[in-house]
Symmetry: C2
Subunit: 209 residues, 2 copies
Protein backbone atom coordinates (compact mmCIF):
# COMPACT_ATOMS: atom_id res chain seq x y z
CA UNK A 1 0.00 0.00 0.00
CA UNK A 2 1.31 3.42 -0.91
CA UNK A 3 1.90 5.89 1.92
CA UNK A 4 -0.32 8.53 0.32
CA UNK A 5 -3.19 6.00 0.32
CA UNK A 6 -2.98 5.54 4.09
CA UNK A 7 -5.19 7.69 6.29
CA UNK A 8 -3.56 10.66 7.98
CA UNK A 9 -3.92 8.84 11.32
CA UNK A 10 -2.54 5.65 9.76
CA UNK A 11 0.47 7.53 8.35
CA UNK A 12 1.20 9.11 11.74
CA UNK A 13 0.94 5.70 13.45
CA UNK A 14 3.22 4.00 10.91
CA UNK A 15 5.70 6.87 11.15
CA UNK A 16 5.85 6.40 14.94
CA UNK A 17 6.45 2.64 14.63
CA UNK A 18 9.85 1.05 15.31
CA UNK A 19 10.60 0.71 11.60
CA UNK A 20 13.02 3.26 10.08
CA UNK A 21 10.73 3.66 7.05
CA UNK A 22 8.79 5.81 6.50
CA UNK A 23 10.97 8.43 8.16
CA UNK A 24 12.12 12.01 7.91
CA UNK A 25 12.61 11.90 4.14
CA UNK A 26 8.98 11.11 3.39
CA UNK A 27 7.86 13.62 6.04
CA UNK A 28 9.98 16.31 4.37
CA UNK A 29 8.27 15.62 1.02
CA UNK A 30 4.86 15.62 2.75
CA UNK A 31 5.63 18.90 4.50
CA UNK A 32 6.52 20.62 1.22
CA UNK A 33 3.41 19.07 -0.40
CA UNK A 34 1.22 20.53 2.36
CA UNK A 35 2.87 23.90 1.76
CA UNK A 36 2.11 23.61 -1.96
CA UNK A 37 -1.51 22.63 -1.28
CA UNK A 38 -1.98 25.65 1.01
CA UNK A 39 -0.46 27.95 -1.62
CA UNK A 40 -2.94 26.53 -4.17
CA UNK A 41 -5.83 27.18 -1.75
CA UNK A 42 -4.78 30.81 -1.24
CA UNK A 43 -4.54 31.28 -5.03
CA UNK A 44 -8.06 29.89 -5.45
CA UNK A 45 -9.46 32.07 -2.66
CA UNK A 46 -7.90 35.03 -4.49
CA UNK A 47 -8.90 34.34 -8.10
CA UNK A 48 -12.44 33.50 -6.91
CA UNK A 49 -12.87 36.94 -5.36
CA UNK A 50 -13.78 39.96 -7.52
CA UNK A 51 -12.25 42.19 -4.87
CA UNK A 52 -8.81 40.94 -5.87
CA UNK A 53 -9.26 41.28 -9.67
CA UNK A 54 -6.03 43.29 -9.91
CA UNK A 55 -3.93 40.25 -9.07
CA UNK A 56 -5.97 37.54 -10.83
CA UNK A 57 -3.50 37.05 -13.72
CA UNK A 58 -0.52 36.83 -11.39
CA UNK A 59 -2.31 34.50 -8.95
CA UNK A 60 -3.58 32.25 -11.78
CA UNK A 61 0.03 31.80 -12.90
CA UNK A 62 1.12 31.02 -9.33
CA UNK A 63 -1.77 28.54 -9.07
CA UNK A 64 -0.60 26.65 -12.17
CA UNK A 65 2.96 26.42 -10.95
CA UNK A 66 1.86 25.43 -7.45
CA UNK A 67 -0.29 22.62 -8.82
CA UNK A 68 2.58 21.18 -10.87
CA UNK A 69 5.14 21.31 -8.07
CA UNK A 70 2.71 19.96 -5.45
CA UNK A 71 1.79 16.97 -7.64
CA UNK A 72 5.49 16.24 -8.08
CA UNK A 73 6.31 16.64 -4.37
CA UNK A 74 3.45 14.33 -3.40
CA UNK A 75 5.05 11.55 -5.49
CA UNK A 76 8.28 11.95 -3.51
CA UNK A 77 6.46 10.95 -0.28
CA UNK A 78 6.50 7.33 -1.45
CA UNK A 79 9.61 7.54 -3.61
CA UNK A 80 11.80 8.62 -0.70
CA UNK A 81 10.75 5.61 1.39
CA UNK A 82 11.24 3.29 -1.60
CA UNK A 83 14.75 4.68 -2.11
CA UNK A 84 15.55 4.13 1.57
CA UNK A 85 14.23 0.55 1.36
CA UNK A 86 16.53 -0.07 -1.64
CA UNK A 87 19.53 0.95 0.47
CA UNK A 88 18.43 -1.39 3.28
CA UNK A 89 17.94 -4.22 0.74
CA UNK A 90 21.42 -3.62 -0.69
CA UNK A 91 23.00 -3.96 2.77
CA UNK A 92 21.24 -7.31 3.16
CA UNK A 93 22.72 -8.78 -0.05
CA UNK A 94 25.01 -11.81 0.43
CA UNK A 95 28.72 -11.15 0.93
CA UNK A 96 30.26 -14.64 1.11
CA UNK A 97 32.36 -14.49 -2.08
CA UNK A 98 34.43 -11.69 -3.62
CA UNK A 99 31.94 -11.46 -6.51
CA UNK A 100 29.07 -11.12 -4.03
CA UNK A 101 30.98 -8.52 -2.04
CA UNK A 102 31.61 -6.48 -5.17
CA UNK A 103 27.99 -6.72 -6.38
CA UNK A 104 26.74 -5.78 -2.91
CA UNK A 105 29.08 -2.83 -2.63
CA UNK A 106 28.01 -1.58 -6.05
CA UNK A 107 24.31 -1.87 -5.13
CA UNK A 108 24.93 -0.02 -1.85
CA UNK A 109 26.65 2.80 -3.73
CA UNK A 110 23.96 3.04 -6.43
CA UNK A 111 21.06 2.99 -3.99
CA UNK A 112 22.73 5.45 -1.61
CA UNK A 113 23.30 7.86 -4.51
CA UNK A 114 19.62 7.57 -5.41
CA UNK A 115 18.60 8.09 -1.76
CA UNK A 116 20.72 11.26 -1.78
CA UNK A 117 19.54 12.70 -5.10
CA UNK A 118 15.85 12.27 -4.23
CA UNK A 119 15.85 14.52 -1.14
CA UNK A 120 17.98 17.05 -3.03
CA UNK A 121 15.21 17.17 -5.66
CA UNK A 122 12.63 17.53 -2.88
CA UNK A 123 14.61 20.48 -1.50
CA UNK A 124 14.78 22.10 -4.95
CA UNK A 125 11.03 21.73 -5.43
CA UNK A 126 10.32 22.93 -1.88
CA UNK A 127 12.29 26.08 -2.75
CA UNK A 128 9.82 26.70 -5.59
CA UNK A 129 6.95 26.30 -3.12
CA UNK A 130 8.60 28.89 -0.86
CA UNK A 131 8.77 31.35 -3.78
CA UNK A 132 5.10 30.71 -4.65
CA UNK A 133 4.06 30.95 -0.98
CA UNK A 134 5.81 34.33 -0.74
CA UNK A 135 3.76 35.59 -3.70
CA UNK A 136 0.49 34.36 -2.18
CA UNK A 137 1.40 35.99 1.13
CA UNK A 138 2.28 39.28 -0.53
CA UNK A 139 -0.52 39.52 -3.14
CA UNK A 140 -3.13 36.91 -2.17
CA UNK A 141 -6.43 37.30 -0.33
CA UNK A 142 -5.51 38.83 3.06
CA UNK A 143 -8.19 36.71 4.78
CA UNK A 144 -5.94 33.75 3.95
CA UNK A 145 -2.69 35.44 4.99
CA UNK A 146 -2.07 32.95 7.81
CA UNK A 147 -2.56 30.08 5.33
CA UNK A 148 0.00 31.63 2.97
CA UNK A 149 2.41 32.11 5.86
CA UNK A 150 1.96 28.48 6.95
CA UNK A 151 2.54 27.41 3.31
CA UNK A 152 5.94 29.09 3.49
CA UNK A 153 6.77 27.49 6.85
CA UNK A 154 5.86 24.00 5.64
CA UNK A 155 7.92 24.40 2.46
CA UNK A 156 10.93 25.66 4.42
CA UNK A 157 10.67 22.84 6.99
CA UNK A 158 10.35 20.33 4.13
CA UNK A 159 13.38 21.81 2.41
CA UNK A 160 15.51 21.78 5.54
CA UNK A 161 14.33 18.27 6.37
CA UNK A 162 15.21 17.05 2.88
CA UNK A 163 18.69 18.55 3.21
CA UNK A 164 19.20 16.68 6.51
CA UNK A 165 18.43 13.52 4.54
CA UNK A 166 20.99 14.49 1.92
CA UNK A 167 23.53 15.12 4.69
CA UNK A 168 23.05 11.77 6.46
CA UNK A 169 23.61 9.87 3.19
CA UNK A 170 26.63 11.79 1.87
CA UNK A 171 29.31 10.17 4.10
CA UNK A 172 28.40 6.74 2.66
CA UNK A 173 29.15 7.78 -0.93
CA UNK A 174 32.60 6.87 -2.24
CA UNK A 175 32.31 8.81 -5.51
CA UNK A 176 33.78 12.09 -4.28
CA UNK A 177 32.95 14.07 -7.44
CA UNK A 178 29.31 13.06 -7.04
CA UNK A 179 29.32 13.89 -3.33
CA UNK A 180 30.97 17.29 -3.89
CA UNK A 181 28.44 18.15 -6.59
CA UNK A 182 25.50 17.25 -4.35
CA UNK A 183 27.05 19.15 -1.43
CA UNK A 184 27.45 22.29 -3.54
CA UNK A 185 23.89 22.09 -4.83
CA UNK A 186 22.53 21.52 -1.33
CA UNK A 187 24.45 24.52 0.00
CA UNK A 188 23.11 26.72 -2.82
CA UNK A 189 19.51 25.65 -2.14
CA UNK A 190 19.95 26.24 1.59
CA UNK A 191 21.32 29.74 1.03
CA UNK A 192 18.40 30.74 -1.20
CA UNK A 193 15.95 29.15 1.22
CA UNK A 194 17.31 31.03 4.23
CA UNK A 195 16.99 34.31 2.32
CA UNK A 196 13.42 33.51 1.24
CA UNK A 197 12.55 32.43 4.77
CA UNK A 198 13.62 35.83 6.09
CA UNK A 199 11.51 37.53 3.42
CA UNK A 200 8.51 35.35 4.29
CA UNK A 201 8.96 36.14 7.97
CA UNK A 202 9.16 39.86 7.34
CA UNK A 203 6.07 39.90 5.06
CA UNK A 204 4.27 37.70 7.60
CA UNK A 205 5.11 40.15 10.40
CA UNK A 206 3.81 43.04 8.32
CA UNK A 207 0.55 41.27 7.35
CA UNK A 208 -0.24 39.44 10.55
CA UNK A 209 1.32 41.11 13.60
Amino acid sequence: MMLIDKTVQGFITELASDSSAPGGGSVAALSASLGGALAIMVCRLTVNSEKHAAVHTEMAAVLNQAQAVTASLTRYIDEDTQAFNQVMAAYKLPKATDAEKQARSQKIQESTKQATILPLQVAEEALKVMELAAKTLEYGNPHAASDAAVAGLMAYAGLRGALYNVAINLPGIKDQAFADNVRAKAAAVRQQADKLNQQLESIGKEKLD
Copy 2:
Protein backbone atom coordinates in the same frame (compact mmCIF):
# COMPACT_ATOMS: atom_id res chain seq x y z
CA MET B 1 -15.70 12.47 7.84
CA MET B 2 -12.86 13.44 10.11
CA LEU B 3 -9.74 14.91 8.50
CA ILE B 4 -7.48 12.30 10.12
CA ASP B 5 -9.60 9.56 8.48
CA LYS B 6 -8.96 10.92 4.99
CA THR B 7 -6.05 9.51 3.03
CA VAL B 8 -2.88 11.59 2.89
CA GLN B 9 -3.59 12.28 -0.80
CA GLY B 10 -7.21 13.09 0.02
CA PHE B 11 -6.15 15.51 2.76
CA ILE B 12 -3.71 17.27 0.41
CA THR B 13 -6.42 17.54 -2.27
CA GLU B 14 -9.02 18.91 0.16
CA LEU B 15 -6.48 21.36 1.56
CA ALA B 16 -5.83 22.68 -1.97
CA SER B 17 -9.56 23.13 -2.68
CA ASP B 18 -11.19 26.57 -2.79
CA SER B 19 -12.69 26.14 0.67
CA SER B 20 -10.96 27.96 3.56
CA ALA B 21 -11.23 24.86 5.73
CA PRO B 22 -9.16 22.86 6.33
CA GLY B 23 -6.39 25.45 6.28
CA GLY B 24 -3.18 26.48 7.95
CA GLY B 25 -4.43 25.79 11.48
CA SER B 26 -5.03 22.10 10.86
CA VAL B 27 -1.76 21.86 8.91
CA ALA B 28 0.10 23.37 11.87
CA ALA B 29 -1.37 20.71 14.18
CA LEU B 30 -0.53 18.00 11.63
CA SER B 31 3.03 19.28 11.28
CA ALA B 32 3.62 19.12 15.04
CA SER B 33 1.97 15.65 15.12
CA LEU B 34 4.39 14.44 12.42
CA GLY B 35 7.26 15.83 14.49
CA GLY B 36 5.96 13.96 17.54
CA ALA B 37 5.59 10.72 15.57
CA LEU B 38 9.18 10.98 14.30
CA ALA B 39 10.45 11.62 17.83
CA ILE B 40 8.59 8.48 18.97
CA MET B 41 10.21 6.49 16.14
CA VAL B 42 13.70 7.66 17.11
CA CYS B 43 13.03 6.71 20.75
CA ARG B 44 11.94 3.24 19.66
CA LEU B 45 14.97 2.78 17.40
CA THR B 46 17.08 3.70 20.42
CA VAL B 47 15.46 1.63 23.18
CA ASN B 48 15.37 -1.37 20.81
CA SER B 49 19.13 -1.28 20.36
CA GLU B 50 21.46 -2.81 22.96
CA LYS B 51 24.20 -0.51 21.71
CA HIS B 52 22.37 2.43 23.26
CA ALA B 53 21.63 0.83 26.64
CA ALA B 54 23.16 3.82 28.43
CA VAL B 55 20.30 6.08 27.34
CA HIS B 56 17.41 3.57 27.51
CA THR B 57 15.85 5.02 30.69
CA GLU B 58 16.03 8.58 29.38
CA MET B 59 14.70 7.63 25.94
CA ALA B 60 11.87 5.53 27.43
CA ALA B 61 10.74 8.62 29.36
CA VAL B 62 10.94 10.75 26.21
CA LEU B 63 8.96 8.07 24.36
CA ASN B 64 6.12 8.21 26.92
CA GLN B 65 5.91 11.99 26.80
CA ALA B 66 6.10 12.03 22.99
CA GLN B 67 3.24 9.54 22.74
CA ALA B 68 0.98 11.63 24.98
CA VAL B 69 1.68 14.93 23.25
CA THR B 70 1.41 13.42 19.75
CA ALA B 71 -1.99 11.87 20.53
CA SER B 72 -3.18 15.25 21.78
CA LEU B 73 -1.78 17.18 18.80
CA THR B 74 -3.42 14.74 16.37
CA ARG B 75 -6.83 15.62 17.86
CA TYR B 76 -6.20 19.30 17.14
CA ILE B 77 -6.03 18.57 13.38
CA ASP B 78 -9.81 18.22 13.32
CA GLU B 79 -10.56 20.52 16.26
CA ASP B 80 -8.89 23.49 14.60
CA THR B 81 -11.03 23.14 11.48
CA GLN B 82 -14.17 22.66 13.61
CA ALA B 83 -13.35 25.85 15.53
CA PHE B 84 -12.87 27.75 12.26
CA ASN B 85 -16.20 26.44 10.96
CA GLN B 86 -17.90 27.68 14.15
CA VAL B 87 -16.62 31.19 13.45
CA MET B 88 -17.90 31.00 9.86
CA ALA B 89 -21.30 29.74 11.14
CA ALA B 90 -21.52 32.61 13.65
CA TYR B 91 -20.96 35.19 10.88
CA LYS B 92 -23.88 33.62 8.97
CA LEU B 93 -26.37 34.03 11.87
CA PRO B 94 -29.34 36.35 11.17
CA LYS B 95 -28.93 40.03 12.01
CA ALA B 96 -32.34 41.54 11.23
CA THR B 97 -33.34 42.55 14.77
CA ASP B 98 -31.32 44.05 17.63
CA ALA B 99 -31.69 40.82 19.59
CA GLU B 100 -30.37 38.84 16.62
CA LYS B 101 -27.50 41.27 16.17
CA GLN B 102 -26.53 40.91 19.81
CA ALA B 103 -26.77 37.11 19.78
CA ARG B 104 -24.73 36.97 16.55
CA SER B 105 -22.05 39.30 17.89
CA GLN B 106 -21.77 37.24 21.06
CA LYS B 107 -21.41 34.01 19.06
CA ILE B 108 -18.75 35.60 16.85
CA GLN B 109 -16.79 36.67 19.92
CA GLU B 110 -17.09 33.29 21.65
CA SER B 111 -16.13 31.29 18.57
CA THR B 112 -13.26 33.61 17.67
CA LYS B 113 -11.87 33.27 21.19
CA GLN B 114 -12.05 29.49 20.85
CA ALA B 115 -10.38 29.64 17.40
CA THR B 116 -7.57 31.67 19.02
CA ILE B 117 -7.08 29.53 22.12
CA LEU B 118 -6.85 26.28 20.13
CA PRO B 119 -3.80 27.24 18.03
CA LEU B 120 -2.16 28.70 21.16
CA GLN B 121 -2.56 25.26 22.75
CA VAL B 122 -1.13 23.65 19.59
CA ALA B 123 1.88 25.98 19.83
CA GLU B 124 2.41 25.08 23.51
CA GLU B 125 2.28 21.36 22.73
CA ALA B 126 4.53 21.79 19.68
CA LEU B 127 7.06 23.41 22.03
CA LYS B 128 7.07 20.18 24.06
CA VAL B 129 7.70 18.21 20.85
CA MET B 130 10.67 20.48 20.10
CA GLU B 131 12.13 19.75 23.55
CA LEU B 132 11.64 16.00 23.05
CA ALA B 133 13.04 16.13 19.51
CA ALA B 134 16.15 17.90 20.84
CA LYS B 135 16.69 15.03 23.32
CA THR B 136 16.29 12.38 20.60
CA LEU B 137 18.72 14.29 18.38
CA GLU B 138 21.27 14.60 21.16
CA TYR B 139 21.01 11.15 22.77
CA GLY B 140 19.08 8.97 20.30
CA ASN B 141 20.31 6.39 17.81
CA PRO B 142 22.65 8.32 15.47
CA HIS B 143 21.41 6.29 12.49
CA ALA B 144 18.13 8.16 12.98
CA ALA B 145 19.72 11.58 13.52
CA SER B 146 18.12 13.03 10.38
CA ASP B 147 14.72 11.78 11.59
CA ALA B 148 15.25 13.49 14.95
CA ALA B 149 16.31 16.69 13.20
CA VAL B 150 13.21 16.57 10.95
CA ALA B 151 11.08 16.00 14.08
CA GLY B 152 12.39 19.30 15.44
CA LEU B 153 11.77 21.12 12.15
CA MET B 154 8.17 19.87 11.90
CA ALA B 155 7.43 20.83 15.49
CA TYR B 156 8.90 24.31 15.00
CA ALA B 157 7.00 24.85 11.73
CA GLY B 158 3.81 23.66 13.43
CA LEU B 159 4.41 26.01 16.35
CA ARG B 160 5.09 29.00 14.13
CA GLY B 161 2.10 28.13 11.94
CA ALA B 162 -0.17 27.87 14.98
CA LEU B 163 1.02 31.29 16.17
CA TYR B 164 0.15 32.80 12.76
CA ASN B 165 -3.34 31.43 13.32
CA VAL B 166 -3.45 33.06 16.75
CA ALA B 167 -2.29 36.33 15.19
CA ILE B 168 -4.90 36.41 12.41
CA ASN B 169 -7.73 35.93 14.94
CA LEU B 170 -6.60 38.40 17.62
CA PRO B 171 -7.76 41.63 15.89
CA GLY B 172 -11.35 40.31 15.85
CA ILE B 173 -11.49 39.91 19.64
CA LYS B 174 -13.09 42.80 21.57
CA ASP B 175 -12.16 41.52 25.04
CA GLN B 176 -8.83 43.31 25.38
CA ALA B 177 -7.79 41.55 28.58
CA PHE B 178 -8.27 38.20 26.86
CA ALA B 179 -6.39 39.36 23.76
CA ASP B 180 -3.49 40.78 25.81
CA ASN B 181 -3.22 37.54 27.79
CA VAL B 182 -3.12 35.44 24.60
CA ARG B 183 -0.61 37.81 23.00
CA ALA B 184 1.72 37.56 26.00
CA LYS B 185 1.51 33.76 26.07
CA ALA B 186 2.13 33.56 22.32
CA ALA B 187 5.18 35.80 22.61
CA ALA B 188 6.59 33.67 25.45
CA VAL B 189 6.12 30.44 23.45
CA ARG B 190 7.74 32.02 20.39
CA GLN B 191 10.76 33.17 22.37
CA GLN B 192 11.35 29.71 23.85
CA ALA B 193 10.80 28.12 20.44
CA ASP B 194 13.33 30.35 18.69
CA LYS B 195 15.92 29.47 21.32
CA LEU B 196 15.21 25.74 21.04
CA ASN B 197 15.29 25.99 17.25
CA GLN B 198 18.80 27.43 17.42
CA GLN B 199 19.85 24.61 19.74
CA LEU B 200 18.32 22.01 17.40
CA GLU B 201 20.11 23.58 14.45
CA SER B 202 23.45 23.59 16.22
CA ILE B 203 23.13 19.96 17.40
CA GLY B 204 21.94 19.02 13.88
CA LYS B 205 25.01 20.68 12.38
CA GLU B 206 27.29 18.83 14.76
CA LYS B 207 25.64 15.42 14.17
CA LEU B 208 24.93 15.66 10.44
CA ASP B 209 27.26 18.09 8.67
